[in-house]
């Protein structure tokens, strides 16, 4: 105890001797501080003249990105799977050709009715949803929408969901070669009936097995969508990448439950457990994306609570090469297109000729992802 006390009493002086040049942080109005002192503080830290970048016109900023296997996006802002439906619902509201890509609703082999309602509960800064993959089945989706998709310049990535490896591969086979289908996104957050209902996304070998099976079934570019509801994301990301995924997207919704006192203390969703989306999950998404970026070399599409350009820049900073906008389109369907514009403007104002300079600034240099641009390949 004596020794400890001695250390405590002497520490200020020791610290001052050890770090004599540490400047005191200037605190706002302080009458005790002399003008000379204030001047000294400022003179010790000369204000570096801001490196004035030569502004680049926004339209000449290179926003294109190559996600591998020929999946090239005109810009890194995608409509994430779910709220945006099949894209066709927004033809009159949004200039779809200016989006980087559209991930359509989860598509299964057979038609699915989805979950009983209510399917939505709004929670603080979040939206808990349990749609239950309602969709008309892959054949109807192809018949109904593929022709329209083919007429767009924006690539459409079909989100695929199934309850067995065989069904995943079968859906991939049916989508192979369909004009208008640019890529597949594997929704791994589905129960695997062959493995007693455990989610593909939570099991390293099951996730890898599905990816490998779909890889064998199709030559389409493959994006695997990973779930945040796992103890360790790194081994899953590595396994899926090794099994042949061209890119990864994360995060899928965070599992959650809402209970209402007004509803007699019962769960509020028709299907008790739902998935949480919205700004509430953004920090989780940032963490998961940065862990994935650190463990794989393939491009990562970040999804989770994007509502503004600042969110986009955050995800790029942790190493994502593209960003999906999900539940934010409910309040503002025009948001993704505006993000494309403001991203280009921001790059231009900073004198960047490509948005790639924004990627991975929060990541240690050796781990920064390699980003290929469409232009760079030419």
């Amino acid at each position: 105890m004596k020794a400890k006390r001695r250390v405590v009493t002497s520490s200020p002086r020791v610290a001052e001797q050890k770090y004599p040049t540490v400047p005191k942080r200037p605190t706002a109005p302080n009458p005790g501080r002399t003008a000379a002192g204030a001047q000294r503080v400022s003179s010790r830290r000369p204000v570096e003249p801001p490196s004035s970048p030569t502004p680049v016109p926004a339209e000449s900023v290179d926003l294109s990105v190559d996600l591998g296997r020929g999946l090239t996006l005109p810009n890194p802002i995608l409509a994430a799977s779910g709220p945006f439906g099949y894209g066709v619902e927004y033809v009159e509201l949004v200039d779809l050709d200016r989006l980087g890509g559209i991930c359509c609703r989860g598509t299964t082999l057979k038609p699915r009715l989805g979950n009983p309602g209510p399917r939505f509960v709004e929670t603080p800064s979040g939206l808990l949803h349990a749609i239950g993959l309602q969709n008309p089945g892959v054949d109807v989706v192809i018949a109904r929408y593929a022709e329209t998709w083919a007429s767009w310049t924006t690539p459409v990535i079909v989100n695929v969901a199934a309850r067995s490896v065989r069904d995943f591969a079968e859906i991939a086979r049916r989508l192979e070669g369909v004009p208008g289908v640019a890529a597949l996104e594997l929704n791994l957050s589905c129960p695997n009936v062959d493995a007693g209902g455990a989610l593909f996304a939570t099991d390293v070998s099951a996730a890898a097995e599905v990816t490998a099976a779909v890889r064998r079934a199709t030559d389409l570019p493959l994006v695997a969508k990973l779930s945040p509801n796992v103890t360790q994301i790194r081994p899953i990301a590595r396994a899926v990448a090794a099994a042949g995924a061209d890119a990864l997207s994360a995060i899928n919704a965070v599992a959650g439950v809402a209970v209402g006192l007004d509803a007699g203390g019962r769960t509020l969703l028709g299907d008790a457990t739902g998935g949480l989306s919205g700004p509430a999950v953004k920090p989780i998404a940032l963490r998961v994306v940065s862990e994935i970026v650190a463990s794989v070399r393939i491009p990562v599409i970040a999804i989770g609570g994007v509502t503004s350009l600042a969110d986009v820049l955050d995800f790029l900073a942790v190493g994502a090469v593209a960003v999906g906008v999900g539940s934010a389109v409910f309040a503002d369907p025009g948001l993704p297109v505006r993000l494309v514009e403001s991203l280009a403007e921001t790059c231009g104002a900073r004198g960047m000729t490509s948005y790639r300079d924004l990627i991975g600034t929060a990541v240690a240099k050796p781990q920064r992802p390699m980003v290929r641009s469409v232009l760079a390949n030419e």
Binding site: P116, F120, I131, Q134, A331
Partner: protein, 288 residues
């Protein structure tokens, strides 16, 4: 798709019942295009801190003055934000959205059944019916007398009958108990309110023809031709139409968050196929 954004200026506001507000907005484009049964969505902006655009029934719309009124209960951040607006403030409304009530032009006696805040979905229909010289009876149900919609806010021509669960005013019990007294009088019925109330009314309406021995009067128009289920023509012929209150997501028909199970076994989107349905279009047993 008409998801035009309309800037609306708050003209007047009043707390007509505890926690329930009536706000009048000046939005000429919206007022002239709206029909009874349709809804608008509040475009929240950054201030309201909400993810979905909250839907509101169009309580009344007057094309002549350009005034649209909304009637809502404060229950959560968006409605609390809305209730805090002051005259002169501007908000953005998207709409009119959804499909309206379809009244058969030959019908003279309309029965409206409202449960609580469901009155907001029917109020405009009462206006339209009175204007076209029809007789309107409004059955209103509430938990207690303090939640009963003030009769002063209704047109004088409406016959207004109240049921309260605690018996504080009018009939003691459910509003559905009153409906059988009027089903013979009514040519057509319209309802909005809690789901169990709508289900009970749908049950009544399904057995009406057999119970009353109703004969279809007049010339049988389009005999042999069957209108597609859900079409305006088919709904016009339905005795009971209901407006369903539901969380609405995209209002574009893409997110499938607002569906109710249809009688055909296909989920129906409240935002696009509704919010008004013929009662027979909905599978009431499934409880979606």
């Amino acid at each position: 798709m008409t998801t035009a954004l309309a800037a609306a200026e708050l003209v007047e506001r009043r707390e007509i019942l505890p926690g329930q507000w009536l706000q009048a907005y000046h939005a000429p484009g919206l007022a002239s295009g709206a029909r009874a049964g349709q809804y608008v969505q509040l475009v929240p902006g950054a201030a309201a801190g909400t993810i979905l655009r909250p839907p509101f029934s169009i309580n009344t719309a007057d094309a002549a003055t350009g005034i649209v009124t909304l009637h809502y209960r404060v229950s959560g951040p968006p409605t609390a934000w809305l209730a805090g607006r002051r005259p002169g403030d501007r908000i953005d409304l998207a709409g009119p959205l959804g499909r309206p009530f379809e009244v058969d032009p030959r019908n003279r006696h309309l029965l409206l059944v409202a449960g609580g805040l469901g009155i907001a979905g029917l109020r405009m229909l009462a206006d339209e019916a009175i204007r076209t010289g029809r007789q309107v009876t409004l059955l209103f149900g509430a938990r207690s007398a303090r939640e009963v919609y003030p009769s002063s806010l209704l047109p004088d021509e409406v016959e207004y009958i109240v049921a309260t669960e605690d018996g504080g005013l009018g009939h003691r019990g459910q509003v559905v108990d009153l409906a059988p007294d009027y089903e013979a009088w009514a040519d057509q019925a319209f309802a909005c309110g809690p789901r169990p109330m709508l289900a009970a009314l749908a049950g009544l309406a399904a057995g009406r023809r057999g119970r009353l021995g109703v004969a279809t009067l007049g010339r049988k128009r389009g005999a042999g031709k069957v209108d597609p289920v859900g079409s305006p023509a088919a709904r016009r012929k339905a005795f009971l139409q209901v407006a369903i209150e539901q969380e609405i997501g995209c209002a574009a028909g893409s997110c499938l968050g607002c569906v109710v199970m249809g009688a055909s076994g296909i989920p129906q989107r409240v935002c696009r196929e509704g919010p008004v349905f013929a009662a027979a279009e909905i599978d009431w047993e499934r409880g979606w």
